[in-house]
């Protein structure tokens, strides 16, 4: 029982971190059908800049805010200089964002050196809660709470606000929304920056969680996030949330019981979804075929 609950908590918190990365990805794809490979680069920049600011200032809050600001700045540069010139051309988008990913993760090594960096937990989040022999690490609970709050905020933004309405309409039918006089490109920039902020936040939260950050992390988590986005259905926030939890929890259990197969499991999930229901669990718009 103790193991079960621990694995569940681990899985849910990892899943929510992946969700932060996947949320931006799925909205960006849904709105402009841009599959942004550089998204993982923003994530790893969030992780490193968060860890660095925390080390320099000793303030966790400042670290998170700083990471988000840096992530958004980089996101703006990406959108403006890499993605905008290749709107509407899928092949070139894929190729160019992969180049963006390469530059982002390599430039990490220029600023912080090629070796992994150790990251400490902030004091007030250290330690663990204990209930009848079940030990739950505090920081994981913190990640879960933040993740759930962000999901709620995103959901409210999408379903209750004017801009959310426009985004949802844009995901459904971009041309129609454009014809109604809404600036879809401006909307897209907003969504892109939102996604960048979420990715950087996810990275900043992950850094103390895994205890160590390294430049190749971006690609690893980007692949996880892509798997999640495809499983959940491109463009669907709920789908991504559900798939993140599935991938996170299944990964935690697999890593405990059959560690060698944990990556293969995600691949298997991805392959099954792509072959059986290419639109993903909750995807409505456009099929993968």
């Amino acid at each position: 029982m103790e193991v079960f609950i621990n694995l569940l908590v681990n899985g849910v918190s990892t899943g929510l971190l992946i969700f932060l990365l996947a949320a931006g990805l799925t909205l960006i794809f849904g709105l402009m059908s841009v599959l942004n490979f550089a998204h993982g680069g923003l994530f790893v920049w969030g992780a490193f800049s968060g860890a660095w600011i925390y080390k320099e200032t000793n303030s966790f809050l400042l670290a998170i805010v700083g990471a988000i600001v840096i992530g958004m700045a980089l996101g703006w540069v990406l959108e403006r200089f890499l993605i905008r010139p290749v709107y509407g051309n899928h092949v070139r988008q894929l190729l160019i964002t992969l180049g963006g990913m390469l530059v982002l993760s390599e430039s990490i090594k220029i600023f912080w050196g090629p070796n992994p960096i150790r990251v400490n937990l902030p004091g007030w989040l250290e330690g663990s809660y204990q209930f009848d022999g079940i030990i739950i690490i505090k920081y994981r609970v913190f990640v879960i709470v933040v993740g759930l709050l962000l999901y709620l905020a995103l959901w409210l933004l999408l379903s209750r606000t004017q801009i959310g309405l426009m985004i949802r309409a844009g995901v459904m039918d971009k041309e129609m929304v454009q014809a109604l006089g809404i600036n879809v490109k401006g909307l897209f920039t907003f969504v892109f920056l939102l996604g960048a902020a979420l990715a950087a936040l996810g990275g900043a939260l992950l850094a103390p969680y895994s205890g160590v950050v390294f430049a190749e992390m971006g690609m690893q988590y980007a692949i996880l996030a892509f798997i999640v986005v495809i499983i959940g259905g491109m463009g669907s926030l709920q789908g991504s949330a559900l798939a993140s939890l599935i991938v996170g929890v299944a990964g935690a259990f697999m890593a405990y019981y059959i560690p060698d197969l944990s990556l293969a499991l995600n691949m298997l999930l991805l392959a099954i979804v792509l072959l059986v229901k290419p639109t993903g669990l909750m995807g409505e718009k456009g099929s993968a075929v």
Binding site: L82, I96, L98, G100, D260
Partner: protein, 332 residues
């Protein structure tokens, strides 16, 4: 054979070939021969990638898996059996058969997907191969890798230089014939407009499968040569950097021109060589990958058709100018 060289002038190709054949007599510096050998090996790899991206319009982010399969097949054979040419052939054959099988299975399952999904899926599968190579320590010795001995012909730098040079020429001719064949024409049609090709009655999935198996086999061959050239292997052959190399080389050289892929391989390897030499005096160049990354992005944005397209455009301009001059003279 007619039309084989109608895009790359035959005499240019022959001149370069002749120069390369004579090169070891002119300059037998070891490092230069090694660098050129490396270029030839990657030229084969880049050409195989060009069949996918340039000729058929398939974006694969997992092309390193075929390179790695070829490299590991040969390395493992040499690790367990004696270093003879026959065993090299066996290793090569195993690698090629495995690559053909893997590319066929992946292709038939996922080539019907849209480009995004296919790119993702291939990336994920290639990562799976990386994990497999790391975990299957009994066969691969994990991330540390292992060294092995190779036949004497391959050990001699000059003879290996000639072997790789001839390999490039043979692969170039074979792939050129392939792209000029009727199958190749259909591939080109698919890359330009898949729906129209389908409407004309060509099953695009079938043709895309042919392209991806061809590319997988050629990549596997280059991987085998790569393993032999290093006499050492580790899991790096499955890393995303290998796929990125192929991307850079084909993009910089020019998509859809096999000669461009060769030129791209030369440019990238030379750059890498000199940048890493520069890094000894200026540490900033230690991160030369980022320079390649910027170069790649700039090429994509500014010269989307690569070096080959750039040359073509200049030629076209010159021709137009000449034509105009001629007309003016006639008017006068």
């Amino acid at each position: 054979m007619r039309g084989l060289f109608h895009k790359v002038p035959l005499y240019w190709g022959l001149a370069i070939m002749l120069f390369m054949l004579l090169f070891p007599f002119v300059n037998d510096s070891r490092s230069m021969l090694i660098l050129l050998t490396q270029i030839f090996i990657f030229a084969i790899f880049a050409m195989s990638f060009d069949i996918l991206l340039g000729y058929t319009g398939i974006v694969s982010f997992g092309h390193c898996m075929f390179f790695g399969i070829g490299a590991y097949s040969t390395a493992i054979i040499f690790n367990h059996l004696e270093a003879t040419l026959l065993n090299f052939m066996i290793g090569l054959a195993i690698g090629i058969i495995l690559s053909a099988l893997v590319s066929y299975i992946i292709g038939s399952l996922s080539l019907r997907l849209k480009s995004h999904f296919y790119a993702m899926l291939t990336l994920a599968v290639s990562q799976l191969f990386l994990v497999l190579a790391e975990k299957w320590r009994g066969l691969t010795h994990g991330g540390d890798g292992f060294t092995f001995s190779v036949p004497d012909v391959f050990k001699d730098r000059t003879s290996f230089y000639y072997i790789t040079l001839i390999s490039v020429a043979v692969v170039f001719i074979l792939l050129k014939l392939f792209t000029e064949s009727s199958t190749g024409k259909v591939l080109k049609a698919i890359s330009q407009n898949e729906y129209r090709a389908e409407a004309l009655g060509y099953k695009s999935l079938h043709y895309k499968l042919i392209a991806s198996v061809t590319a997988g086999v050629a990549a596997s061959f280059s991987g085998a040569l790569y393993a032999v050239s290093l006499r050492f292997i580790n899991t790096n052959v499955f890393s995303i950097e290998v796929t990125l190399d192929a991307l850079l080389m084909t993009m910089i050289g020019g998509l859809g021109t096999l000669a461009g892929a060769i030129a791209g391989a030369g440019i990238i390897e030379f750059l890498r060589h000199y940048l890493s030499e520069l890094a000894m005096t200026y540490p900033i160049f230690e991160r030369w990958t980022i320079i390649l990354g910027f170069l790649y992005i700039v090429v994509l944005l500014v010269f989307p058709s690569g070096l080959a397209g750039f040359i073509k455009r200049i030629n076209l301009k010159n021709k137009r100018k000449m034509k105009k001059k001629g007309e003016l003279q006639r008017v006068a």
